[in-house]
C-alpha cells in the first residue's frame, strides 16, 4: 500500500504551504524552467513534467550573490543583513539536485560551519519530485543516484496514473505530510525511467595516473572559460568575496566564482600556478572525480547533465570519463 495524493489535492496543499512558507518551485517561462519564489495563485500553472531547470536550486542556500555582512564606516560596527526567519519549502526538486545540495553540505557544514549556508539550510524543507523525463545528457544512476531516489529529500512525490505516491523520509517531512489530503491505495511505485549509464568504475584511479597527460590541454583548447559549467552545476561551490562601498557602510559580498576563470589562482605579484586553460579545466575534473572522492568518498557530480547541455563548445563530462579510462601515460 502506498499513500497517494491526487493532483487537485496536491495543488491545494501547495497553496496552503504558500501561505505559511516561502514556496520555491520550478516555473517555466519562455521555454526556460527555473526555481522561483511562487505565490499561491501561481500554483495551478506549475509545470510538474519538467526535465531539468536551467540552473540548480543551490542558490537557495548559496546565492549567486549575497551580502555576508556590512561594516559601518567606523570599521567596527558589524551590521547583519536583513533576513527572515520564515521557513522555505522547495517543491519539485529532482533527486539529482537534492544530491547536489548534500554534496555542498559536506564542505559548507564541516567545521568551521559556514553560518550563511547553514542558516538557510536549516530553515528549508525539500519536497522532491521523482524525475520522469530525464534528458539525453542525464546519468544520475552512474553516480549513485536515480530519477526516483528519495535520499537527501524530506518528501518524495512519484507520479503515477492515479496521483502522486508520497514518501516522507525525514521527521520534518513526516510532520509536513498532509494526511487528510492523501489516501492509501494499492498502487506500486512505477519503475524509474531509463537513464543511459556512464562507465565510472575505476575513474579515480585512472585520473591519478593521468594527471600529466597532454589530453587535458587538448580538451581545453576549445574551452572559452565562460564558466557556465560551474554556474549551472548543482555541486560546484567556488566563491569570491569582495567589498562594495555603500553610502555609510561597506558591504562584504560573496558571489559565485569558477575555477575556470583566467587568473583564478593568480596571486598579487603575478605568480599563477594554473596559468593555462588546460591546467584549469583539469582542476575542475580532478576536483570532481579524484580530490573530492578521496576526501569524502563520493564523486562530486550528480549526473544532472546541465554542464553538457550548457557548454557552448560541447565539452562533455561523459566523454571525459570515457576517454580517461582509455588513457595511459
Amino acid at each position: 500500500m502506498n499513500r497517494i495524493i491526487v493532483d487537485n489535492n496536491l495543488r491545494s496543499w501547495l497553496k496552503e504551504l504558500a501561505e505559511k512558507y516561502t514556496l520555491v518551485a520550478p516555473v517555466t517561462s519562455d521555454g526556460v524552467t527555473l526555481f522561483k519564489h511562487v505565490k499561491g495563485s501561481q500554483v495551478d500553472s506549475l509545470d510538474l513534467q519538467y526535465s531539468n531547470t536551467a540552473v540548480s536550486p543551490k542558490g537557495c542556500f548559496f546565492p549567486l550573490s549575497e551580502t555576508m555582512f556590512s561594516i559601518g564606516s567606523d570599521g567596527v560596527n558589524v551590521i547583519a543583513p536583513v533576513s527572515t526567519d520564515r521557513e522555505v519549502v522547495i517543491f519539485g526538486i529532482h533527486p539529482c539536485d537534492a544530491a547536489g545540495i548534500a554534496l555542498i553540505d559536506r564542505v559548507f557544514l564541516a567545521e568551521p560551519t559556514d553560518t550563511h549556508y547553514k542558516e538557510k539550510r536549516d530553515r528549508t524543507i525539500l519536497i522532491g519530485l521523482a524525475c520522469n523525463a530525464p534528458s539525453p545528457e542525464c546519468f544520475c544512476p552512474s553516480v549513485g543516484g536515480g530519477p526516483a531516489n528519495p535520499m537527501y529529500l524530506d518528501i518524495l512525490l512519484t507520479q503515477t496514473s492515479a496521483g502522486y505516491i508520497v514518501q516522507a523520509t525525514t521527521g520534518k517531512g513526516k510532520e509536513l505530510t498532509p494526511a487528510a489530503r492523501m489516501e492509501e491505495k494499492d498502487i506500486p511505485l512505477p519503475p524509474p525511467p531509463h537513464v543511459t549509464p556512464v562507465p565510472l568504475e575505476g575513474v579515480s584511479e585512472m585520473m591519478r595516473r593521468n594527471f600529466d597527460s597532454p589530453y587535458w590541454d587538448r580538451v581545453a583548447d576549445r574551452c572559452l572559460h565562460c564558466n557556465i559549467c560551474s554556474y549551472v552545476c548543482p555541486c560546484c561551490y567556488c566563491f569570491d568575496i569582495r567589498d562594495y562601498m555603500g553610502k555609510d557602510k561597506i558591504d562584504r559580498v560573496r558571489s559565485w566564482e569558477s575555477c575556470q576563470s583566467a587568473g583564478f589562482t593568480m596571486i598579487a605579484g603575478g605568480h599563477d600556478p594554473r596559468p593555462t586553460k588546460g591546467a584549469r579545466l583539469r582542476q575542475r575534473w580532478y576536483h570532481k572525480l579524484l580530490y573530492f572522492p578521496e576526501l569524502f568518498g563520493d564523486i562530486k557530480c550528480t549526473g544532472c547533465g546541465r554542464c553538457v547541455r550548457s557548454c557552448p563548445v560541447n565539452i562533455d563530462i561523459r566523454e571525459i570519463i570515457t576517454d580517461v579510462q582509455k588513457l595511459n601515460v
Binding site: 555576508m68 547583519a80 536583513v82 533576513s83 561551490y237 568575496i241 598579487a268 579524484l290
Partner: protein, 280 residues
C-alpha cells in the same frame, strides 16, 4: 530580522594599527592590536600560521604572521605593496582600523626541532613568516643547536628586517648570510641567488632541519640544492602561498592537487610536497 550567529567565521575582529615601520621601499611592518582586549588575549597563534587582514572597502587577504605570540608585542605582519589590498593597507596611518580573522593553518612544529641545527632560508618577503621561528629559537637558545640564516633579496635596500640583523647574528652559534641579486656601491656582501649561496655554504644535513620560504621558483631550486647536499625530504620544511578567499577550506581556491594550503598547510615538508600532484 535575524542576526548572524556570533560564530560566523567570516566576520573579522576589529583591530587597530598600533605601529608602522618601513622595512624596504615597498614593505611595511604593521603592528596590530585587536580592539577588544579579551579577543586580543585569546588570539593565540604559532610560528607559521597566517591571518586575513581586511582593508574595509577594498577587500581582505591572507598574510603570514611575522611575530611570535609569546613576545606579546602585538600581531605583526610584513606587507609588500603589490596588489589592491596591500596598496590600501600601505595608505593607513597608526590608529587606523582594520579587520583581522584567524589564526589559520598549521605551523612549524618547533618542539620537534629541539636539539637540532636550524637552517633558515628566506628570499624577499619570504623571510617574514620565518621570523617567528627565528624569534622562537633566539628566545629558547639552549633548546636548539646552531642557527644559520640565509636571507636574500633583489637588492641591498630590499633585504627585509635589516633592522634586526644584528640580533639574528648574535653569537653564540648564530650565523647570518646575506645575499642580493644586484649589489650597489656600498654593498660588500655576496651578490648571488639564494640557491647558489646554499650550494656554496654546503650546510651539513646532520641533525639539521631546513626551513624555507620565498618565491616559488626560489623554493624549487633550494629544494633541489638541499637534496643534492644529502638532506632527506623529511628534513626540509617550507611554507606555501596560494590565492585564497576564505582561509577555512570552503572557497576551493587554494588547493594544490588534493591539498588545501589553508587547512592542510601552509607548512609542508618536502616529503609531503613530493606527493603533490600539481605544481605550486
Amino acid at each position: 530580522m535575524c542576526s548572524i550567529p556570533a560564530a560566523n567565521p567570516f566576520i573579522p575582529y576589529p583591530a587597530t594599527v598600533t605601529g608602522l615601520l618601513d622595512l624596504t621601499p615597498d614593505i611595511k611592518l604593521f603592528t596590530v592590536e585587536l580592539t577588544d582586549p579579551e579577543q586580543q588575549d585569546n588570539f593565540d597563534y604559532r610560528p607559521g600560521q597566517f591571518a586575513f587582514i581586511s582593508a574595509y572597502g577594498v577587500g581582505e587577504g591572507p598574510y603570514g604572521i611575522a611575530s611570535l605570540a609569546e613576545r606579546k608585542a602585538g600581531l605583526e605582519f610584513a606587507v609588500r605593496r603589490v596588489g589592491t589590498v596591500t596598496r590600501a593597507l600601505h595608505e593607513l596611518e597608526p590608529g587606523a582600523t582594520l579587520g583581522i580573522r584567524g589564526p589559520y593553518g598549521n605551523w612549524f612544529p618547533m618542539e620537534d626541532y629541539r636539539g637540532k641545527n636550524i637552517l633558515i632560508i628566506g628570499g624577499g618577503i619570504g623571510i617574514a613568516p620565518l621570523r617567528p621561528v627565528i624569534h622562537h629559537v633566539l628566545d629558547h637558545r639552549s633548546d636548539y643547536a646552531e642557527l644559520t640564516i640565509i636571507n636574500g633579496a633583489r637588492s641591498p635596500r630590499e633585504l627585509v628586517f635589516s633592522n634586526e640583523f644584528d640580533l639574528w647574528a648574535e653569537p653564540p652559534q648564530c650565523k647570518l648570510e646575506l645575499c642580493v641579486d644586484r649589489g650597489n656601491d656600498e654593498w660588500q656582501g655576496r651578490v648571488a641567488l639564494v640557491p647558489q649561496v646554499v650550494s656554496e655554504l654546503s650546510p651539513s644535513p646532520d641533525n639539521t632541519v631546513a626551513i624555507i620560504c620565498g618565491p616559488p621558483i626560489m623554493i624549487r631550486f633550494v629544494l633541489t640544492g638541499l637534496k643534492e647536499l644529502g638532506f632527506s625530504p623529511g628534513q626540509i620544511v617550507t611554507t606555501l602561498e596560494q590565492k585564497m578567499k576564505c582561509g577555512i577550506g570552503k572557497c576551493a581556491r587554494c588547493n594544490v592537487g588534493d591539498k588545501y594550503i589553508c587547512k592542510d598547510g601552509p607548512v609542508f615538508t618536502l616529503e609531503q610536497i613530493l606527493n603533490f600532484m600539481e605544481q605550486f
